[in-house]
Structures are given as structure tokens and as C-alpha cells.
């Protein structure tokens, strides 16, 4: 009941949207596809949900081929496209009812599955979907995608445009759905959400950079990373970039993440260099790599 993708490629005119993508999503896995806008996430989702043909390669979803068995797939998957595709002029309840009807089911029949999510928006069930907040739209769209009890759930950027509280709740909901035996493929441009998946694939420019568990991915990071800060961020970045031994210099919140090209790097040396550039309140200490660091290192 998982997903299997082998050597999928897809181009639009002269843009290579996907280049030789292969990976497996195990049954009942919560799998994240992490990458920025334009990385090819939506194209891959559309191929897997039978909306687009791949140029090359094959893929199966819940055991069905995405080209040959498209009708079976359409019965067995739930799909939540980006931008919460709902009928804005229909109420919450009417939207849900409509999607239940076209899948040949009713709200009552599968209420168990969506109950957790739907109770949160039920007080607003007579409100038009267009008048809901981002978080509520997201919950309604998820309910609609689940109403026919799909075996595999595709969620394309479900947390884009949603506030942190709703984002957190949404991931908690996904965890609960996973426990009910649903295989979930979710895409997101936010690197910090990678940690919430069982496994992730990092994708950029139509290529997979790496696939592994979030913990293993950061362990692949080849160098020690140092958090550096001072009283003047702009000068700090400029000076670090001018430093002849730098391997990478990236602003990272209040700090700059610095890696050195030498194996025997001594932070004190860097400290002296920065002091010589008249920077004050310099702090340098080692820190753990994040998914984002890994992503940038791989994409470099």
C-alpha cells in the first residue's frame, strides 16, 4: 500500500521539472518531500495522482500503476492540492458533503476517520469556506481529502500560508492519521518540518538530493559547524566571506553558520581575525547541523 517511484522524468517545454527521480514510500509511512518552490514537488504529486503522464519512468501507488490503473488510483487516494482547493461559496458542511457524494460515500459512513479534525471546524459548519481562516481552510481541505477513507494521502504544501499554531496542530493530526494505517506523502518548503516525518527526500531543481530519516540526514553533514556572532552582522558576513579558509558562510537567524575548509580548524584563529577587523562581542561555538545546513551543502 506504499508508493514506488522509479526513474521518473518530466519536462515542460525547456524546463526539466523532474530528472530521474526514484524512491520508495513504505506502507504506513509519513514521508516528507522537502524543497523550495519550483523544485518539482507539485509535478511529482500530479504524476502520482494520475493528473500528469511522466515522460520516462514508472510509478505505482498502493500497487497500482499511475498510467495504466489510473481509475483504481483515483478511487484509493486522497489528494489535497496546494492552496486548499475548496468551493469558496459553499459552506463547510456543503463542501464536505459534496466531496463525500462524488466519492460515493457519506459523512456519517467515515465520520470516525475525520472526527478528530472535523470537530474543530464543526462549530463553523454553516460558514462559507471563503470566510474561514487559513488554519480552518486547511482542516476542512484535509477532511475533504479523507472523507472516502483513502489508503494513500497526498498533501501538497498543506502548511503554506498557515500560522504556527495551526501548523503544529496539523502535524499532530497527520501523526494520528498515520496510526490509523494511512500512508502519507507530504510536501513542504519549510525545512523545520522535516523533523516531523519518518523519512524525508530533499529535492531541488527536479533532483533528489538525499533520502533518509531526518536524524540520519543531519549526521551526513561532513564538517563541524560553528555559530558565529558579533555586534555587526553585515560586517561579520563580509569578513567571514573574505576569510581565505572559509568553506561556507550562511546567515542563520541571530548567528552565522560558518564551516572551515581546513581539517585542523582552530576557532581562536578566527576570533583573532575577526577582532583584527574591529568586530566586537565576538562569539564562536560549535553547533549541530540542521536539515537546512545539509540541504544547502548538498545543493551548493
Amino acid at each position: 500500500m506504499g508508493i514506488s517511484i522509479s526513474n521518473i522524468s518530466k519536462s515542460y517545454k525547456n524546463v526539466k521539472a523532474l530528472q530521474d527521480i526514484s524512491f520508495e514510500v513504505k506502507p504506513n509511512e509519513l514521508f516528507g518531500l522537502i524543497g523550495p518552490d519550483g523544485a518539482g514537488k507539485t509535478t511529482l504529486f500530479r504524476i502520482l495522482t494520475t493528473l500528469l503522464f511522466p515522460d520516462h519512468g514508472t510509478a505505482t501507488v498502493a500497487g497500482f500503476d499511475v498510467v495504466g490503473d489510473y481509475k483504481e488510483i483515483r478511487k484509493n487516494v486522497g489528494y489535497m492540492p496546494g492552496r486548499f482547493s475548496l468551493y469558496q461559496d459553499l459552506t463547510v458542511e456543503e463542501n464536505l458533503n459534496f466531496f463525500a457524494t462524488i466519492f460515493g460515500t457519506t459523512i456519517d459512513e467515515n465520520y470516525d476517520l475525520i472526527k478528530d479534525i472535523y470537530v474543530q471546524i464543526e462549530p463553523f459548519k454553516d460558514r462559507r469556506a471563503g470566510k474561514l481562516s487559513g488554519g480552518m481552510k486547511q482542516k476542512l481541505a484535509l477532511s475533504c481529502a479523507l472523507i472516502h477513507k483513502p489508503k494513500v494521502l497526498f498533501l501538497d504544501e498543506p502548511t503554506t500560508g498557515v500560522d504556527p499554531v495551526s501548523r503544529k496542530e496539523f502535524w499532530e493530526m497527520l501523526k494520528r492519521l498515520q496510526q490509523k494505517g494511512i500512508t502519507i506523502l507530504v510536501s513542504t518548503p519549510y525545512m523545520d518540518e522535516a523533523a516531523l516525518c519518518d523519512r524525508v527526500a530533499l529535492i531541488q531543481d527536479g533532483r533528489i538530493l538525499q533520502i533518509d530519516t531526518p536524524k540520519a540526514i543531519v549526521k551526513h553533514y561532513p564538517k563541524p559547524i560553528y555559530n558565529v556572532r558579533s555586534d555587526n552582522m553585515y560586517q561579520l558576513i563580509t569578513n567571514l566571506k573574505d576569510y581565505e579558509f572559509n568553506h561556507s558562510v550562511y546567515p542563520f537567524g541571530e548567528f552565522v553558520h560558518y564551516t572551515d575548509s581546513r581539517t585542523d580548524f582552530n576557532p581562536t584563529e578566527l576570533q583573532h581575525y575577526l577582532e583584527s577587523k574591529n568586530l566586537k562581542n565576538i562569539e564562536i561555538h560549535e553547533t549541530d547541523a540542521t536539515i537546512e545546513d545539509t540541504f544547502m551543502e548538498l545543493a551548493k
Partner: protein, 368 residues
């Protein structure tokens, strides 16, 4: 079947919750019919004219009185010099000037011939033309009365009188055209917009990734508009019968059936438009430019096809509206039955089958 009914129910929610489309659906037919019926008309009423009478005799006085007595003209000014003609036009006070020659009565009796110059403001050529024709009609009427007592060799041409018969209401000519436009607009534009809206919202993606078959989606989109268009057709016919006292000569059942055929033609066109446009805006533009303009300009609704240049006459044949207008006029005004319009009906039917086949072929079960 339950899926299908659910789908149609949803379509009706969309229609009734969108005030704009509701207005287009039900406000437009009424507004258009009233507009064409009352405002845009070939009839004239109380047109201001000036008179320059060089003879001031009995005959001219009688003619002037006749003109003044008609409801079409009101005499605004009597002028005395040729030079004033230009100035009254320039001031925009009158639309026409009647210039009676000197010794009008005398000439008429002596030579059986007298001249009136009718000068009209041709900035609006249609009105100018109509005014000239109306004045001619009045003059001929007068001439006829004069000739009653005298035995004379020739008669006034009766044709002229018929064509410019003041009783002929232009609204009768407009109803078939307006009905065609409305049915086209509602059916083609509204369906194409409602399909492209789902594309824009992204809900089309979900519908595609569902067990609903493509033809179910299409028919589900179309059925509500068939109903609404039929209601519109009925409203238009009722308005023309009860407000403009337009007699429908032919069979109402035939009229209804032909209308349903044309509605289906337009819906097929609407679906075709939606398959080639990605946004509501494009669908609207294509509907307006690609459908409305040809219907107005090339269908014979406003400009007679016979007076168009040859290439346009040929093009007009591929416009479904042309055939529907011929059918409507035949049924409504001439009161003929199927035996006279089977050819047009067949052409329309052929077009419908073609458009449906084409749009089913073009409608994709996938996104590309």
C-alpha cells in the same frame, strides 16, 4: 446517479450564491428586451424641424399643417432666409429643414410639379434616412389626397408606403436577435466560466482525482444551464408577447424545441471554450469576442446579411446564431412550420454534434 445529483446540487449553489451571475442570468434578458424594445428603435417621435417657406400659399400651409399634425414631427421654427438653414443646424436645434420653393402652389397646378427640399442632419445617418422617408410618406399621402379629385395617369408607388408603414414595430425584428444573444451568452459564457473557475480554484484537480467520469463532470456542469436557458427563453417570449404585443404566429412547441437545440449548441461551444482557456478571464474574453461579436455583427441580427461583402456572407454561414435567427423569424413572424425550416434545423443539428464531439475529444482526463 447520487454522485451526479450531488454535483448538480452544488452547481445550483454556485449559481444562486453569486449575485453577479444571477444578475446576468435573469436581469440581462429583461434589460436587453426592454432596451431594444423601447430605446433602440427605428421609429422616430417628435423630431424637431424648421421650415423655410418661400411661397406661403395654401398648399404649403396644408402640407405644413399635415406635418405638424403627425406625431413624428414638431415644428420648432419658421425661418425666412436661406442663410438661416446652416445656422439652425449648427445650433443643433433641429434635425431637418423643409425648404418650399417659390410659387409652390402655382407650379403644382401649372406644371403638375413642385419642389420641396428636405435637408436633414446626417450626423446620424440612420435617423436622417428615417426622417426623409417619413416626410416622403406624408408628402405622398398628401399628393394622393390631392389627386383624388383629379383624374391622373400615374399612381404613387404603394411599395414605399408598405416599407415605411408607421405601424411596423422594430421590436418585432429585434426579439429573435436578442433571444439568440441571451441564450448564447447564458449557455456558452456561463458554462465556460464555471468550468474554468474550477480550474483556477484547483478544485478541478480534485474532481479529476476522483471516481467521477469526465463526461459526468461535463453533463453536471451543463444540465443546470439548460434549465436556466429554457427559463430565459420563456421569459423573453412572454415579455415580447405581453409587453410589446408581439404575435407569435407559429407553433410554440416547435419554437421551444428549436430553442433547446440552440441552447445545446451554445453549451457545447461553452465547453469547447473551457477546454482551451485556463482562466475565467480568458473564457470570458473568448466568449465575448469569439461568440457575442459575430452574433451581433454577422448573424443578420442588426445588419442584413444580403448587404454584406461576399467574404463576410460566406463566414456568416458558420455562425450557428445566423441559422437560429432565421428559424426564429420564420416561426415567430411568418408562422411557418417545420417544412420550411428543416434545412436550417439540420445545419444547426450538425453543428451541435460537431461541437460536442470536438469538446469531448478535447476534454482531458488529465491536466495536460
Amino acid at each position: 446517479m447520487k454522485r451526479f445529483i450531488g454535483f448538480i446540487k452544488k452547481e445550483f449553489y454556485h449559481i444562486f450564491r453569486d449575485r453577479r451571475s444571477l444578475f446576468i442570468l435573469f436581469g440581462m434578458p429583461i434589460a436587453q428586451i426592454l432596451l431594444f424594445g423601447f430605446a433602440i428603435t427605428n421609429e422616430i417621435n417628435n423630431v424637431d424641424i424648421a421650415i423655410l417657406d418661400h411661397s406661403k400659399d395654401n398648399t404649403t400651409e396644408e402640407i405644413i399643417n399635415k406635418i405638424a399634425a403627425s406625431k413624428y414631427f414638431s415644428i420648432k421654427q419658421m425661418i425666412t432666409r436661406e442663410a438661416d438653414i446652416a445656422s439652425v443646424f449648427q445650433k443643433g436645434q433641429v434635425k431637418a429643414v423643409l425648404n418650399f420653393e417659390k410659387d409652390f402652389s402655382k407650379n403644382l397646378i401649372k406644371d403638375h410639379k413642385a419642389t420641396i427640399q428636405v435637408i436633414t442632419d446626417a450626423t446620424d445617418p440612420n435617423t436622417a434616412n428615417t426622417i426623409t422617408n417619413y416626410i416622403n410618406a406624408i408628402l405622398q399621402q398628401y399628393q394622393k389626397e390631392l389627386n383624388k379629385d383629379i383624374i391622373i395617369a400615374y399612381q404613387i408607388l404603394p411599395q414605399t408606403r408598405m416599407v415605411y408603414n408607421p405601424e411596423l414595430k422594430s421590436v418585432y425584428m429585434f426579439v429573435p436577435g436578442v433571444m439568440t444573444i441571451i441564450l448564447m451568452l447564458v449557455s456558452a459564457m456561463m458554462t465556460s466560466i464555471s468550468i474554468t473557475r474550477e480550474k483556477e480554484l484547483g478544485t478541478m484537480e480534485i474532481l479529476l482525482v476522483s471516481p467521477l467520469r469526465p463526461f459526468q463532470v461535463i453533463i453536471g456542469k451543463v444540465v443546470p444551464y439548460i434549465f436556466l436557458s429554457i427559463i430565459n427563453a420563456v421569459v423573453i417570449v412572454m415579455l415580447s408577447i405581453f409587453i410589446f404585443n408581439m404575435p407569435v404566429q407559429g407553433s410554440l412547441i416547435l419554437l421551444g424545441l428549436e430553442s433547446v437545440l440552440f441552447i445545446i449548441t451554445s453549451l457545447a461551444l461553452g465547453i469547447l471554450i473551457s477546454t482551451i482557456s485556463a482562466t475565467q478571464q480568458t473564457a470570458m474574453m473568448i466568449s465575448l469576442m469569439g461568440l457575442m461579436l459575430p452574433v451581433i455583427l454577422l448573424s443578420g441580427f442588426i445588419f442584413p446579411i444580403s448587404s454584406m461583402p461576399m467574404p463576410l456572407q460566406i463566414i456568416s454561414n458558420i455562425i450557428p446564431a445566423k441559422w437560429f435567427i432565421i428559424i426564429l423569424k420564420a416561426i415567430m413572424l411568418k408562422g411557418v412550420g417545420m417544412q420550411f425550416i428543416w434545412k436550417e434545423t439540420l445545419i444547426l443539428l450538425g453543428m451541435t454534434v460537431f461541437f460536442i464531439a470536438l469538446s469531448v475529444k478535447k476534454y482531458k482526463i488529465r491536466l495536460e
